[in-house]
């Protein structure tokens, strides 16, 4: 446990440039080092992950990807637990039919069945997805029976110990899969590029995003020739970086200032941008200036396409996202302190300074401005995002905070 604590602390300090993958790796080590009790292993794992996740999220609430991964891992634990339980119940059902009457004496020590009930109950709490609906039906039907039944206790303890190891193992396996997904999401998104970019297309993008550059490269590799306008994305000027990469790959690239976006968008066929996070309502948290681009695109009826890996899907609905999900960066990016030192007479005189500098890092693009999301799971409408999110997260985890009365 101290090891993980140390890991968490170092991670927190480096959270500024944390990625989803790093979060997942951290949580994997948290899980692997977590000692699992015999009873309610899932609950213990969840608590441990939640404890760490809470810290991570509190460290930088704007970095939504971290919270997403914490929730994904929690969801994985629940799923794995559930699948193990269903498997166990499958076995138990056979015996349950035979000893239906003598259940009263047993239910004292059938903690497992209680956990199974809880899991089943939780699974019913989850928003229904087509997949889970189909899979869950036999389980929930089985629950009343299993609750009143139990296997023979000695068989079960052996079963339990093997299963506890199995659960942890499965969870780590699944987290590994998640990490793999995060790593490969760029390629998966890029594979769809040829479906969206045609010959002689003119594409506009703002700032720089690895997903976007891979997407464009993929189209280029498929011998599509098209031109790209890159808005530089002040004050980070990531567009310069993207322009350089695109030019190195032999794409016709034009670098423009952000203010020229409106002027140029009338000649653009498609806007392709990356996102910082995608909210449950289909809104996008993106680098600052994106709302401008989206509005201009809407005005000129240019499709506004957002590329986002599934780890960027956030199950939260935004409230006042421009303020609450934003980050104000240093004014020095805009104004040279030395140059304006004579204007910044803080504290002297009337008390409130005359000069304020606002330098937000993110923009919120409302869902109505987004034409299409391309995730590693294909293209989706903004209105479908909530549904996609229900596949990845369980409703219990939306608020990652340990309850006052933690399980066990």
């Amino acid at each position: 446990m101290p090891d993980t604590q140390a890991l968490v602390m170092t991670f927190l300090t480096s959270l500024k440039n944390a990625t989803a993958r790093q979060t997942a790796e951290l949580l994997r080590s948290v899980i692997s080092q977590q000692r699992v009790p015999y009873t309610n292993q899932a609950g213990a794992l969840i608590d441990a992950v939640k404890a760490v996740g809470e810290q991570l999220i509190a460290a930088n609430p704007v970095e939504l990807a971290v919270g997403n991964i914490v929730r994904r891992v929690l969801h994985i634990i629940r799923e794995e637990d559930l699948s193990l339980t269903t498997a166990a119940i499958g076995e138990l059902n056979l015996s349950a039919v035979s000893d239906d009457e003598n259940d009263d004496d047993r239910d004292g020590n059938t903690t497992l069945s209680a956990a199974a009930v809880a899991a089943a109950a939780r699974s019913t709490l989850r928003p229904p997805s087509l997949q889970t609906l189909l899979e869950d039906t036999p389980v929930s039907a089985a629950v009343p029976q299993t609750s009143s039944s139990g296997g023979d206790s000695e068989g079960k303890t052996a079963d339990k110990s093997s299963r506890s190891r199995k659960l942890k193992h499965d969870v780590i396996e699944a987290v590994n899969e998640l990490i793999q997904d995060i790593v490969t999401c760029h390629e998966q998104i890029a594979e769809q590029a040829v479906e969206h970019i045609h010959q002689n297309e003119v594409i506009l993008t703002l700032g720089s995003s690895r997903t976007v550059s891979e997407f464009l490269f993929a189209a280029k590799e498929k011998k599509r020739s098209f031109r790209v306008f890159v808005a530089e994305g002040a004050p980070r000027y990531q567009g310069h970086l993207l322009a350089k990469e695109l030019v190195a790959r032999g794409l016709q690239t034009t670098l423009i200032t952000d203010s020229a976006v409106f002027a140029m968008i009338s000649r653009v066929n498609m806007v392709i941008v990356g996102a910082h996070a995608v909210m449950a309502n289909g809104g996008v948290i993106a680098p600052v200036g994106m709302n401008l681009v989206a509005l201009a695109a809407q005005k000129h009826a240019v499709p506004f396409v957002v590329l986002a890996g599934s780890h960027k899907l956030c199950p939260l609905y935004p409230h006042n996202p421009e303020v609450l999900l934003n980050e104000l960066r240093s004014p020095s990016e805009l104004l040279d302190f030395g140059e304006f030192s004579d204007c910044m007479d803080f504290g002297s005189g009337s008390g409130s300074p005359l000069l304020h500098v606002v330098n937000p890092a993110f923009d919120y693009v409302p869902p109505k401005l987004v034409s299409l999301f391309i995730t590693d799971a294909g293209g989706h409408n903004p209105s479908y995002m909530y549904r996609l999110i229900a596949d990845y997260y369980s409703a219990d985890d939306l608020v990652v905070q340990r309850r006052a009365i933690a399980g066990n």
Partner: protein, 717 residues
């Protein structure tokens, strides 16, 4: 309907012809309609108007109210704010005889002139007392418009007191509908003709409306004037006949020419190889082509920046064709020392002033021709340094028209003095005073507690903010800035020094900051006839976001920057800045990704200077003529671009309805004050003024009928 249309189509040019040819006796250098030439020098006016009145008959000017007849020295008594003490009221003064007669020593050309619109009725003549009109149909119609049933009735009206001197003329052209319809259809109509047709149709509609209501009034009017007009009528008849015979054809042609002049010249397209070659031969500056030209902007000049300046500086002493003042201004444009529409325009005009001062006409040449050529060469040099802004183009047009108008009789020194004062007055009235009026208007739109957003740095907006601050209004300013010029920093510094509370941000954060903003004030480089605001690049973004947030966008622009051109996007006409300033971010050494890459074939750096804001995003345009919706821009261009100045007034007519109880509102948004002889700002078609007892009157092209104490008067606009 169709038949009516076509028949009018035929008639209308004839009507114009009639109107024009009566004016033919005017000195030839004055008859042409000119590009906007808003200011006339007092000496010129003084010299010319008596000259005009010496002609045997006072004849209404051809088409455009900018005509010289209206040049009267201005009396201080009836001026509003005295922005243009010489000419502002001249065109207004002729709305009523007594005012002008009292105020202006030379005979006022009080004219009431209808172009088939004022009094149009079947049997029109019968409703007029015979004495009121010379009965010209027999004389005029055959000569001017042969074979048309058109009847023209002209009334010469004289101001009281100076009636012998042929103070003015009233020509009322009466046409009968039957006559119109009987005219055979003409096959081909040119563009200009078609436009004329449209105008005629409007005029006819107005007349038809007026016919029912106002005939008695007009009769009364005619009656009143008949007594005065009896005397000079024979004279007039004579001249009309003479003129009719001689001038008819020439007149027609020059009208056509006028019409064509209305259409703005196509601009230089830099993808036209032959023209570019031609241009290069002439030009002093020898720019090198940019390496990576942006394909989309091949029609715009894309030259290497930074190379011309040292070359030109070294050439300073070798150029004999250019005046040093002009040269200096050109270099300042090139280096970016002078930027901003007003500053550039003023600098250019002052350079021209100096050039004119030092100018002497070479032997065997006329001043007007040679000087015009000189100015043209200066202008092409300035274009080489930096493409002209619309405001500069308008100023140059004004200057050239003033040069062309100088009578040959004038001595060189007089002519130069005239031009000098003309330029002086253009600067004063069209820029400096206009800004002052804009500030007065705009300040009324600032309330306590407002958060005002502005983009870049506009001189007009800066003045507004400072003035509002001086008035003690409590407000906060948000300055939005953008790369690569960062003009907002300078504005920020100046405003903070003045003690205004400012928030500074960059254009990408506009959606973030717009939540707290209550008004957006923007400057403009130009306002185009379709309401498009042509301004610093990024203005469109700001206006768009403000529109999305339902925040009013107020564009502050002097009327001399209005242009009759139209534009839909920012691509067709624009200016490209130095591409290198895109790849480098001053003060951020860490942004050096593109070092060395800008030589690459595939990378183009695009530094647009302007963009076009669609009129939908603009709530209001504040000009020196008042606060107008963008839809009224063409009205301003048409009504005021012709060269005369109207008196404008500071008060918002809608805010103080009592003040404008006698106002007349026209359907196209013009407000006319008969009692003060003012044409004021505009009302908004979507917000018609209430509580006013006037009907909305339809207005013909340059003629209105106005209800005044139960009497109806016809006025020419």
């Amino acid at each position: 309907m169709d038949s009516r249309r076509s028949s009018r189509a035929v008639i209308d040019p004839k009507v114009r012809q009639v109107g024009f040819f009566t004016s033919a006796p005017l000195p030839p250098d004055r008859t042409q309609s000119d590009p906007p030439d808003p200011i006339r020098s007092p000496p010129l006016a003084d010299a010319s108007s008596p000259g005009n009145s010496l002609s045997p008959v006072m004849i209404p000017p051809p088409r455009h109210p900018s005509d010289s007849l209206l040049r009267l020295p201005h009396s201080p008594s009836d001026a509003f704010p005295p922005p243009s003490p010489t000419t502002t009221t001249t065109s207004l003064g002729d709305f009523s005889d007594d005012v002008t007669a009292a105020s202006s020593p030379p005979p006022a050309a009080a004219r009431v002139r209808g172009r088939g619109s004022s009094v149009k009725q079947q049997g029109a003549a019968s409703s007029f007392p015979g004495g009121g009109f010379e009965v010209p149909p027999s004389v005029k119609a055959p000569s001017s418009v042969p074979a048309s049933g058109l009847t023209t009735v002209s009334v010469v009206k004289l101001p009281p007191g100076i009636s012998e001197n042929a103070g003015g003329s009233v020509s009322v052209e009466v046409q009968s509908d039957r006559a119109l319809n009987s005219k055979p259809l003409k096959e081909k109509t040119s563009k200009a003709e078609r436009r004329a047709i449209q105008e005629a149709q409007r005029a006819a509609k107005a007349a038809a409306k007026a016919e029912g209501i106002k005939t008695p009034a007009v009769t009364a009017l005619a009656n009143a004037k008949s007594a005065k007009s009896t005397k000079p009528s024979p004279q007039r008849n004579d001249s009309a006949v003479v003129v009719a015979a001689s001038e008819k054809k020439g007149g027609d042609r020059s009208v056509e020419k006028d019409r064509k002049k209305d259409v703005p010249h196509p601009r230089m397209q830099y993808d036209d190889k032959s023209r570019v070659q031609k241009l290069k031969k002439r030009s002093v500056v020898k720019p090198t082509e940019a390496r990576n030209r942006v394909e989309l902007f091949r029609h715009l000049p894309q030259y290497e920046h930074g190379t011309q300046l040292p070359v030109l500086q070294s050439k300073f002493f070798q150029l004999d064709t250019l005046h040093p003042a002009v040269y200096k201004v050109g270099l300042q444009y090139l280096s970016g020392d002078i930027c901003g529409g007003n500053a550039r325009c003023i600098a250019m005009l002052q350079a021209f002033q100096e050039a004119i001062r030092d100018y002497s006409t070479p032997p065997a040449k006329t001043l007007s021709r040679d000087l015009t050529a000189k100015i043209s060469s200066y202008v092409s040099f300035l274009i080489d340094c930096r493409p002209l802004s619309v405001s500069m183009g308008n100023a140059i047009r004004f200057l050239k028209s003033q040069i062309a108008k100088i009578p040959i009789s004038l001595s060189e020194s007089e002519a130069k003095a005239t031009l000098h004062s003309d330029i002086e007055r253009f600067i004063n009235e069209k820029i400096i005073l206009a800004d002052r009026v804009i500030v007065k208007h705009a300040v009324t739109k600032i309330r306590d507690g407002d958060v005002l957003l502005t983009y870049g740095s506009s001189s007009a907006v800066e003045m507004i903010l400072q003035h509002a601050h001086e008035l003690g209004k409590q407000f906060r300013v948000v300055i939005v800035d953008s790369r690569p010029k960062h003009e907002g920093k300078l504005l920020l510094r100046r405003l903070v020094r003045k003690g205004l509370s400012c928030t500074y941000t960059h254009i990408n954060a506009i959606s973030y900051i717009m939540h707290e903003v209550t008004r957006v004030f923007l400057g403009a480089s130009s306002v185009l006839s379709n309401g498009t605001v042509y301004s610093r690049v990024g203005t469109a973004c700001v206006a768009m976001v403000a529109y999305g947030f339902h925040i009013p966008v107020l564009v502050c622009c002097e009327a001399y920057k209005f242009h009759e051109r139209v534009q839909l996007d920012s691509i067709c006409s624009n200016e490209l800045g130095d591409p290198d300033s895109i790849s480098k971010v001053p003060g951020r050494e860490d942004i050096n990704h593109l070092d060395g890459w800008d030589k690459s074939e595939n990378l183009q750096l695009l530094n647009l200077i302007y963009d076009a804001t669609p009129s939908d995003y603009v709530s209001l345009i504040i000009t020196d003529y008042g606060m107008i919706p963008p839809t009224s821009v063409p009205v301003i261009v048409r009504e005021y671009g012709r060269g005369q100045l109207w008196i404008y007034e500071e008060c918002d007519p809608l805010a103080s309805p009592g003040r404008c109880s006698d106002a007349v509102f026209f359907v196209d948004g013009l407000i006319f004050y008969p009692s003060q002889h003012l044409v004021l700002s505009f009302w908004f078609p979507d917000r018609p003024p209430s509580g006013l007892n006037n009907d909305l009157l339809e207005r013909s092209d340059n003629f209105v009928t106005v209800a005044e104490n139960g009497n109806f008067t016809n006025f020419e606009l």
